[in-house]
């Protein structure tokens, strides 16, 4: 361990703790799945926390549509799932940053 002043070492350790917490939260969010449905309810999709499309479920009516209509349903459902994912991710990251703020970190460098 280099001979940095003790308050610098404490500051760096605290910052690393916060970064670990943020990283854990991002991992949890990435493991979650989010659902989106198009406005007609004919297409339902599931994406993972990184935005990867996991599944597309089309109802029976889809067989009477043409390709362009099916594509539009899927695009709408994916947009809905992405919006749900972004909303939840923002809420969870805000919760973490609020906890960090309340923990008393000033954001000032150690002296």
């Amino acid at each position: 361990m280099p001979d940095l002043p003790a308050n610098w070492r404490d500051g760096i350790a605290t910052m690393r703790g916060h970064l670990d917490e943020l990283r854990d939260t991002l991992r949890e969010v990435a493991d979650d799945h989010y659902e989106g449905v198009d406005p007609t309810g004919r297409c339902r999709v599931r994406v993972d926390g990184t935005g990867l499309l996991v599944a597309v479920d089309l109802d029976g009516v889809a067989t009477r549509l043409d390709g362009a209509e099916v594509a539009a349903l899927v695009m709408d459902a994916v947009a809905a799932a992405d919006a749900a994912r972004a909303e939840l991710m923002a809420a969870r990251l805000t919760a973490v940053t609020n906890r960090i703020r309340l923990s008393g970190t000033t954001g000032e460098p150690p002296r």
């Binding site: 001979d3 690393r16 999709v45 935005g51 990867l52 089309l58 067989t63 899927v74």
Partner: protein, 112 residues
Amino acid sequence: MNETFHRLTELYPRVQREVLESRERRRELADDTIEVTSDEHTVTAVVSLDGRLRGLDVLPAAPRRLDPQTLGETIAATVREAQLRARQEAQLRAAPTPALAEYRRISRGLTS
């Protein structure tokens, strides 16, 4: 101050500059796209390098030729393949810069 601290101080302006450049490169990722077509040419997906689905083409007759489950699986697999390729390309373009990599290595060593 010791040598480690001096090195970190020396690296910091470069790290700041490289982080800004990397952020700019990431912004540019949204403009470039990857296109993937399914084996049977039923579905084509266009995904930007930031992973967003930008376009989807399904053959006009595909919904009548395939049952909904098979069509859904084909669409999901094609889009996912495009997203994974986009992710690989994005990682190549936004790899950690030399100064940032050294800065991280040194600062990890400070508290371990």
